[in-house]
C-alpha cells in the first residue's frame, strides 16, 4: 500500500500519468493488431503477443520496483551499471544472435533481449556519475574528453554490431552535455551535419556546397556583429566555409563509400529518386496508405483494413504508429505525439529544477533519448525520415525496450522524489 502511494502520489503525477497512458496505448494497440490478424485468438495465451507485452509490462514494473527498493541509492552503483552495460555489449561479439542483419540480441531459451536498449540508461548513469564528480574534473577539457569517450564507446560497439538505429539515439546525450556547459559547437556541428546532409541528398555535392556558401554569406551579411573587425569576420567566414566543405566531403565520402546500398536506397526513396512501392519502398508505402485511410477520426477500433490484411509487416514493433493512425486517425496519432511532448517537457522542467548535477544530467539524457526515439520512429512511419529500425518507446512491442525505458523513467522519478 505504501509502495503504491509512493508510486502514484509521491512521484511526479504528470510523469506517471504520461507513462501509464503510453503503456496502455501500447498494450491496446498490440492487442488490436493481434485481434485483427487472428480474430479467434484468446488473450490469455503465451502465443499471443499482446498478452506477452502485458505480461512484460507488469513483470518489468514489479522487477524495477524491487530493484529500486533494494538499491536504495542506485546512483552509487552507476559505474557498475555502466560497465555491466559495456560488458553486455562486448559479450554480443561472442554470444550474440544475428537477427535481420544486426548482431544485437542475446537468445536465452525462449526469449531474447537487446543489450543496446539497456546501454541507453547504463550509459546515462555512468555519464551522470562522471560529470557530477565532486572534484569537478568535467570542467577541464580532459574531463569533457573522457565524458565524450564514455558515450562514444558503447555507441561504437553498437555500430560495430551493425545496429545503426540504436547508435543514432546516443546523439541524444549532446543535449545533456550542452546543458552542463560544453561549448555550443557540440550542438552546431550535428545540426550543420544534418542540414548539409539533407541538402546533399536532394542536390548532390557541388550544388549543396554552393548553397552552403550562399547561406553562410547571407548570414554574415545580415547577422554580423558590428563590433568585430572585418578581417576577423572574413577569417571566420572562410573558416565556416572550409568547415562546411569538410563536412560535405565527409558526408559525400561516407555516403558513397561507407553506406551500403540498402542505406542509400532508404534515403533515395524519401527524396523521390527511387520510386518503388513493391520492393524496398513497400513498408513505407503501405504505412502511408494506412495512415491516410485513417483520415481524421480513424476507421474505428478493430476495423483497420490494412492491419487486418497484414499489409505492414511486423506492425506491432516499429510501425505501430501506423496502426494507431489507421484505427484512431489524426486524433489518435496527435494525442500520442502530445503525450510524448508533455512527458519530455515535464522531464526537462524537473531536471532543470534539480540542484544535484547527477539528477540533471540523468534527466536530460532521458529527455534527449526519448525525444530522438519518438521523433525518429514517427518520422519514419510518416515518411519524413529514412527507415531506421528503432521502436516507439513504451508503445512498441518488445520486452527489452519496455524494461529499459520503464527503468529509466521510474529511476528518474525516484531520484526526483528523493531530492525534494
Amino acid at each position: 500500500m505504501r509502495a503504491a502511494q509512493k508510486i502514484f502520489i509521491h512521484n511526479d503525477r504528470i510523469l506517471m500519468l504520461c507513462y501509464f497512458l503510453l503503456l496502455f496505448i501500447g498494450c491496446l494497440s498490440i492487442y488490436g493488431i493481434e485481434k485483427n490478424l487472428h480474430p479467434d485468438m484468446e488473450f490469455w495465451s503465451l502465443s499471443n503477443q499482446s498478452f506477452k507485452q502485458f505480461f512484460w509490462v507488469i513483470f518489468s514494473f514489479i522487477l524495477i520496483l524491487l530493484l529500486l527498493y533494494f538499491l536504495k541509492n542506485f546512483q552509487n552503483y552507476s559505474y557498475l551499471f555502466y560497465f555491466l552495460g559495456i560488458a553486455l555489449l562486448l559479450g554480443l561479439f561472442l554470444f550474440g544472435k544475428n537477427i535481420n542483419g544486426a548482431t544485437s540480441w542475446y537468445q536465452l531459451g525462449g526469449f531474447s533481449f537487446q543489450p543496446s536498449e539497456f546501454a541507453k540508461f547504463t550509459t546515462s548513469m555512468g555519464l551522470a556519475y562522471f560529470v557530477s564528480r565532486p572534484d569537478n574534473i568535467f570542467e577541464l577539457f580532459f574531463g569533457k574528453f573522457i565524458a565524450f569517450c564514455m558515450v562514444l564507446f558503447p555507441m561504437l560497439l553498437i555500430i560495430l554490431q551493425n545496429d545503426m538505429g540504436s547508435a543514432i539515439i546516443f546523439i541524444g546525450f549532446i543535449f545533456g552535455l550542452y546543458r552542463e556547459n560544453v561549448h555550443k559547437i557540440i550542438l552546431i556541428v550535428p545540426a550543420a551535419v544534418m542540414l548539409l546532409f539533407t541538402i546533399y541528398l536532394f542536390f548532390g555535392f557541388w550544388q549543396s556546397g554552393f548553397i552552403a556558401v550562399l547561406g553562410a554569406s547571407l548570414f554574415f551579411i545580415f547577422f554580423r556583429r558590428l563590433y568585430y573587425k572585418i578581417s576577423f569576420l572574413l577569417k571566420r567566414f572562410l573558416f565556416t566555409i572550409f568547415l562546411a566543405f569538410c563536412i560535405l566531403k565527409a558526408i559525400d565520402y561516407a555516403y558513397v563509400n561507407i553506406f551500403e546500398n540498402r542505406h542509400r536506397n532508404r534515403f533515395e526513396i524519401l527524396t523521390g529518386k527511387i520510386k518503388d512501392t513493391k520492393g524496398i519502398g513497400y513498408n513505407l508505402n503501405q504505412s502511408l496508405i494506412a495512415i491516410r485511410s485513417g483520415n481524421f477520426l480513424g476507421m474505428g477500433f478493430l476495423k483497420g483494413g490494412h492491419t487486418k490484411g497484414n499489409f505492414i509487416p511486423e506492425q506491432h514493433t516499429d510501425y505501430i504508429f501506423s496502426y494507431i493512425c489507421e484505427e484512431f486517425g489524426f486524433v489518435g496519432g496527435g494525442v500520442v505525439i502530445l503525450i510524448y511532448t508533455l512527458l519530455i517537457f515535464r522531464i526537462i522542467q524537473l531536471s532543470n529544477n534539480q540542484k544535484r548535477s547527477y539528477n540533471r544530467i540523468y534527466g536530460y539524457a532521458l529527455a534527449g533519448i526519448l525525444s530522438l526515439h519518438y521523433f525518429i520512429n514517427i518520422g519514419m512511419v510518416c515518411g519524413i525520415l529514412p527507415t531506421i529500425g528503432i521502436p516507439l518507446p513504451l508503445i512498441s512491442y518488445g520486452g527489452s525496450s519496455i524494461f529499459s525505458f520503464s527503468f529509466f523513467l521510474l529511476s528518474f522519478a525516484k531520484i526526483i522524489r528523493e531530492s525534494k
Binding site: 546543458r179 490484411g309 499489409f311 496527435g334 514517427i378
Partner: protein, 628 residues
C-alpha cells in the same frame, strides 16, 4: 538559453510530426466502400447467376445449363508434389507443367491451371486429385441444348467482349449475354442477378474474412425459366421437311396468336454454338457461308412478294369496298389486257377460258384476270387513282403488313405496302394505276415476311381479327405475358366477308390448286402462291424458278393452326409448299402423318436448283457479260 534548447527542439519535432500527420490525414481518401473507395485489402468476388432454362409449350426442356470443368491451382496451399504422377494424371508434359507454374511465380492467388475439361476426364482426375492439395476442380456453367432444333428461335449466347461491355451497362468481361433470338429478347429475365461478395484479403491476396460482415454484398438471383409457345415436336418435324430447301415456315395458333413453330432453313446446330472450342471453328464457318446464310432468320427477316396468296386479301378488300359481291363474275381470256399495247397483258393460268368466273372459283383456281378486275374496280371507286390506292393500302396495313408486327423476338423487317406517296417517289409523280397492276396478284412492289403471311392466315381463320404473334407463354411457371399480346386487334374488313373467302379456301383443297394435298379427316383451308422472281445482273433481268408459297389454316370450323410456308425456288405453290402445309397440319392435329407424302417431300432436294442459280449469277458476272 542552455536551459531551454531542448524545449525548442522537442517542440520543433512535435510540430513537424503534427503537420505531417495532418497533411496525411487530409489527403486520405474516404475509406468507405460505398463511396467508391478502392482498397488493396478488399477483394470483390462475383458469383454468376445460372441462366434461366427454356421449355416448349408442353414443358419439354429445350435449353438448360451444363458444367464445364477447370483445374485451379492454389499456390498458398502448395506443398512438394509428385510432378511426374500429376502430369500423368492430367495428361500434360513435364515442360508444360513447369511453364504454367513459372507464369505466376510470386503471385499467391489461385489461378486456372487447365481449363475446359470434359466431364469424363474430370471424373478420372477427381478420383486422385486429393493427393495434390494445391489443385482443385471448379465448374463453370455453360448452355446445354437438349434438342438440335429451333436454333433461330432460341438464339445463342456469347461471352461479353470489350465492345459489348461499352454498349450495355451492368456487364463485365466474361459474362454471358444473349446475342439472338429468345436469349437476346428476354436477356433480362434469363440473366438473373449476379452475386457480389466482398472479402477481406491479406498481403498475399488470400481471403481472411468477410468484409464488414457482408454489409455490401449482393445476393445471387438465378435467371427465370421461360416457357415458350413453341411446339417442339411440330418444329422438329417441319425442320425435317424443310431440309435441303431454302425458306421458312411459320405456324400460329389463331385464337391466341401464339407462335407454334418458326422454321428457317438452312439452320445451324445450336449445341455447336456453345462458347468453347466448337464455337471457334463453327461460327466462322457459318458466317462465311454467304450463299446459304444459315445465320439469317428467313422467317422474320426475308421480305418476299406474297404472290397469289395475297389474292385472298384482295378479294376481302373488294368485298369490303363493295366493288364486288359473292356473286360478281368476270371473264378471263387467258389473261388481262390492262393497256393498249400488246405487251400490256397479264397472263393467267386458271384454265377457264371465256367463261364467267365467280369469286370462289377465282380463288381456288387462282385466276389472275379476276383480281386485276377487282383491283381496277377498287381503284376506280374513288375519284382519283391516288385516293383509291391509299384506301387499298390502308386495308392491307390493317392486317399488319408494312410494319413490324410487334412479336417478342429481336429481329424483324417491315415489309412494304406501297401507297400513293411511294409511287410518287418511284415514278416521280407520273404514274397511272395500270403501272401498279402487279399489286393485284401480290407481285410488284408489295413485300411481306413469312411471319406476316402466317398472320394473314390467322386473321382469315379468326374472321377479321388477330392477336399479335408472340412466343412467350410463361415465366417461371406463371403466366406473365405482356398485356399487348392479349389485345384483340381488328382489321378494317367486316367479319361477314370472311365467310366467302374461307369457303373458297376450303375449295382449294377440294378441287382447286392443292387438291392433291387434301386430308381425309381434316378440312383444311388454304391458298397456293407461285411467285415469279428475278435478279438483275447488269442490265439483264434473269428469271429464276418460282418461289413456292402457301398459307393455310385448319380445321375449317374451329381453326387450331394457321400456317405460312415459303420455299424459295420451289416451283408451284402446290408442288412443295402445299404438301408441307398439309403434313404439318396432320402432324399437329392428329400426330400421325401420311408416309408416302412425307417421303416425297423429304426426297425433294433443291440444292441442285440453288447451285444452278449460283452458277447463273457467277456466269453473269463474268467479264464477258459486264463489258460486252
Amino acid at each position: 538559453m542552455r536551459k531551454n534548447v531542448l524545449y525548442f527542439v522537442v517542440a520543433f519535432f512535435s510540430l513537424i510530426l503534427l503537420v505531417r500527420l495532418f497533411f496525411l490525414a487530409a489527403t486520405g481518401k474516404e475509406s468507405s466502400l460505398v463511396n467508391g473507395g478502392n482498397h488493396i485489402y478488399i477483394k470483390t468476388l462475383k458469383k454468376q447467376a445460372s441462366r434461366g432454362r427454356i421449355f416448349d409449350r408442353n414443358h419439354e426442356i429445350l435449353v438448360g445449363n451444363a458444367y464445364n470443368y477447370a483445374l485451379i491451382f492454389n499456390p498458398s496451399k502448395s506443398t512438394s508434389i509428385d510432378t511426374l504422377a500429376f502430369c500423368k494424371l492430367v495428361g500434360i508434359s513435364k515442360n508444360d507443367f513447369r511453364k504454367k507454374l513459372s507464369k505466376r511465380k510470386y503471385d499467391k492467388r489461385s489461378f486456372v491451371f487447365i481449363g475446359n475439361i470434359s466431364k469424363k476426364k474430370i471424373a478420372y482426375i477427381q478420383e486422385k486429385i486429393h493427393r495434390f492439395k494445391a489443385f482443385e476442380s471448379k465448374k463453370n456453367t455453360i448452355r446445354y441444348y437438349f434438342k438440335e432444333h429451333a436454333a433461330h428461335i432460341l438464339g445463342y449466347v456469347s461471352e461479353v467482349t470489350d465492345y459489348i461491355k461499352k454498349k450495355y451497362k451492368n456487364y463485365a468481361l466474361g459474362d454471358m449475354i444473349g446475342m439472338t433470338g429468345i436469349e437476346r429478347y428476354y436477356e433480362k429475365v434469363l440473366k438473373g442477378k449476379k452475386g457480389i461478395h466482398h472479402k477481406h484479403v491479406n498481403n498475399f491476396g488470400v481471403i481472411v474474412d468477410v468484409y464488414e460482415k457482408g454489409a455490401y454484398d449482393v445476393k445471387t438471383e438465378n435467371g427465370k425459366d421461360l416457357e415458350l409457345t413453341i411446339d417442339i415436336a411440330l418444329q422438329e418435324y417441319l425442320e425435317k421437311l424443310m431440309k435441303n430447301k431454302r425458306g421458312s415456315v411459320v405456324a400460329i395458333e389463331p385464337q391466341t396468336g401464339e407462335i407454334l413453330s418458326l422454321v428457317t432453313s438452312p439452320s445451324y446446330e445450336p449445341s455447336k454454338m456453345v462458347v468453347g472450342k466448337y464455337r471457334k471453328k463453327y461460327f466462322p464457318k457459318l458466317i462465311k457461308d454467304t450463299l446459304n446464310k444459315p445465320l439469317f432468320n428467313r422467317a422474320l427477316l426475308s421480305e418476299y412478294a406474297p404472290g397469289s396468296v395475297f389474292k385472298t386479301l384482295q378479294a376481302l378488300i373488294g368485298l369490303q369496298e363493295g366493288v364486288i359481291s359473292k356473286k360478281t363474275t368476270f371473264k378471263c381470256y387467258g389473261g388481262y389486257q390492262y393497256g393498249r399495247r400488246k405487251n400490256n397483258f397479264m397472263k393467267c393460268h386458271c384454265g377457264i377460258y371465256g367463261e364467267k368466273i365467280t369469286l370462289k372459283s377465282a380463288i381456288f383456281k387462282s385466276c389472275n384476270s379476276y383480281f386485276c378486275n377487282v383491283y381496277k374496280n377498287i381503284i376506280g371507286k374513288y375519284v382519283s387513282e391516288k385516293e383509291g390506292l391509299n384506301a387499298w393500302s390502308k386495308h392491307i396495313k390493317s392486317f399488319g403488313f408494312g410494319n413490324f408486327l410487334g412479336y417478342d423476338l429481336p429481329e424483324g423487317r417491315k415489309g412494304l405496302v406501297p401507297d400513293s406517296n411511294f409511287y410518287n417517289k418511284w415514278y416521280r409523280n407520273r404514274w397511272r394505276w395500270t403501272y401498279t397492276i402487279s399489286n393485284a396478284i401480290g407481285q410488284g412492289q408489295l413485300l411481306a415476311t413469312p411471319m406476316q403471311l402466317a398472320n394473314l392466315a390467322a386473321i382469315i381463320a379468326n374472321r377479321g381479327y388477330y392477336y399479335i404473334p408472340h412466343i412467350l407463354k410463361k415465366i417461371d411457371g406463371e403466366e406473365k405475358i405482356n398485356p399487348k399480346y392479349l389485345i384483340r386487334k381488328k382489321t378494317s374488313i367486316a367479319s361477314e366477308h370472311f365467310q366467302h373467302i374461307i369457303e373458297a379456301m376450303g375449295a382449294v383443297f377440294e378441287y382447286g390448286t392443292a387438291r392433291y394435298s387434301a386430308l381425309k379427316n381434316i378440312k383444311i383451308c388454304g391458298k397456293t402462291g407461285t411467285v415469279q422472281n428475278f435478279s438483275r445482273i447488269g442490265r439483264t433481268k434473269i428469271q429464276h424458278k418460282d418461289h413456292s408459297v402457301f398459307i393455310a389454316f385448319a380445321p375449317k370450323k374451329d381453326p387450331k393452326i394457321a400456317l405460312a410456308i415459303y420455299v424459295e425456288n420451289g416451283g408451284f405453290g402446290s408442288e412443295i409448299a402445299a404438301p408441307i402445309a398439309s403434313l404439318a397440319i396432320e402432324k399437329y392435329l392428329t400426330g400421325k402423318t401420311n408416309q408416302y407424302r412425307e417421303n416425297e417431300i423429304l426426297n425433294k432436294d433443291l440444292s441442285n436448283t440453288y447451285q444452278e442459280l449460283i452458277n447463273l449469277k457467277i456466269n453473269a458476272r463474268s467479264p464477258k457479260n459486264i463489258y460486252p
